[in-house]
Amino acid sequence: MRKNVPLFPEQASTLAGEVDALYLTFLGISVFFGLLVAGLVIFFAIRFRRRSPDEIGRPEKAGILLEIIWSVIPLAILLIMFAWGAKVYVEAFRPPGNAVEYFVTAKQWMWKFQHPQGNREINVLHVPLGQPIRLTMTSEDVIHSFFVPAFRVKADVLPGRYTTVWFEASKVGTFHLFCAEYCGAEHSVMGGDIVVMNPADYELWLAGRDSGPSVVASGEELFRVKACNTCHRPDSATLAPILHGIFGEEAEFQDGSTQIVDENYIRESILNPTAKLVKGYKPLMPTYKGQLTEEEVLQLIGYIKSLASDATESQGTVPASGSPALDSDEG
């Protein structure tokens, strides 16, 4: 499908149509105004061309009404386009509740993916058709940007922080993945493919290779190996807070401030534990900075998130537990 030379990118996600509708509408408005101005300029320039060397133009009276008209109309159109664009944007960055979480780690110059089931891939990501997929992304070095033109999604991938983006593929096929934020010598080849498969084919593909432990299982394993479980116990909150069910809830800190427990907060708590001390605890936890790879931190987060739902099922997919943070925000 990449052989022919189209002038318009394929639409391969549920979002693509919305972005294109917005773009084409705006393009139509632009073409109208562009032609209007160009047409008037050319027409006036010919119609009112100078006919004698001493001729001067005929001064007209001020046109306050005209000025108001051509200020207000563009403003109104622009504000409408703003509102429409904002709607699409907010949608693009707020994954639906049933999205399945995949992890992405970027580094100079490759993309590393981990499926919830545990499979790892480099520069190629296989995803099932019709399933909302949420990517939690971080970088090991500089800023990169995850960009799939056919899905119309793009989000920067930053070191030291998580960003997310989501999509629901609507077309089977192979699509370009680009790094859109300049990241060094091999920036232009830091790309790959997103392979969209029918769900059944995807299951076959998953089954056809050794997936290794799931993200949650790896996280659980790490939780034990790094001895997190000696303090963070499911039954006792004496030494450290109980982690079950904290994800998406509000944590209260020593200084009285609060924060919703999200991926970035958990990350900070692992790597810089004393930055935000939960009320009632002493700064006992050592830092794990330098002892965990970015992928391991992600696995721990995946595990802690899985504890959010009361049952400790390690089935891989993060259950659709609603979105407390969003709900409380929308109030």
Partner: protein, 220 residues
């Protein structure tokens, strides 16, 4: 060529009057100070951004600073602003020796400020609180405290650099004043360097509470 004939003492050829020249100089100096506000503004923004997310670490950092020396320095710098203002007054009223005297007093106070700053810096150096590879912090929040000291050194360092430049210009102005270069009609240079000096004072008026005072009351 046109201007040469009516070029009076200290009036540049392209100005019509001393008033026009003075107003241009005063306005130009203020516009320059606006750029200085924005220059320091970038650092203040960084400070506010990081303080908003790492308040506790910043409180820890501020406890490492010597509040007494900071307060003394504030007083010294305000004093130097007074002498600078008086130098301008002396220029306006045509007191040649007084100009020189007040400028020298300003330079002296500026020197005291910088001397105290050196004492403070060397103490930080001994305690391994100077940012970079040698930074060492035993307590909690190491990275936040390091950020505090990064900003402390950048902000006070940039301020001190402005002081040094100011003192340099003041020395030149003092010599010119001694030679009688300034008259009640034309003392724009004294006025200009005065504005600069007061601006440097104002920066410190904000740096002092931001770095030394905020978070002081938090127990650590």
């Amino acid at each position: 060529m046109q201007g040469e004939s009516n070029e009076a003492w200290g009036l540049a050829h392209h100005f019509d009057s001393y008033d026009q020249q003075r107003e241009a100089s005063y306005l130009g100096m203020w516009v320059f100070l606006v750029t200085e506000i924005m220059f320091f503004g970038g650092l203040f923004t960084a400070y506010i951004v990081y303080r908003s997310s790492q308040g506790a670490a910043f409180a820890l950092g501020s406890h490492e600073l010597d509040i007494t020396l900071g307060a003394i320095n504030t007083a010294v710098l305000i004093g130097s602003s007074l002498t600078m203002a008086l130098a301008v007054w002396a220029a306006q009223t045509g007191r040649r020796k007084a100009i020189v005297g007040f400028i020298l007093a300003t330079i002296l106070l500026g020197g005291v400020f910088l001397g105290i700053k050196v004492v403070e810096y060397s103490a930080k150096f001994e305690h391994h609180l100077v940012p970079g590879p040698n930074f060492h912090w035993n307590g909690p929040e190491a990275s936040g405290v390091e950020m505090f000291f990064n900003l402390y050194f950048l902000m006070t360092g940039l301020h001190a650099a402005h002081m040094v430049i100011g003192i340099g210009i003041l020395l030149v102005v003092a010599v010119l004043a001694w030679r009688g270069a300034f008259t009640p009609e034309n003392h724009n240079l004294v006025e200009g360097v005065g504005l600069y000096w007061h601006f440097v004072d104002i920066v410190w008026i904000f740096l002092f509470p931001l770095l030394y005072l905020l978070g002081r009351n938090i127990q650590v």
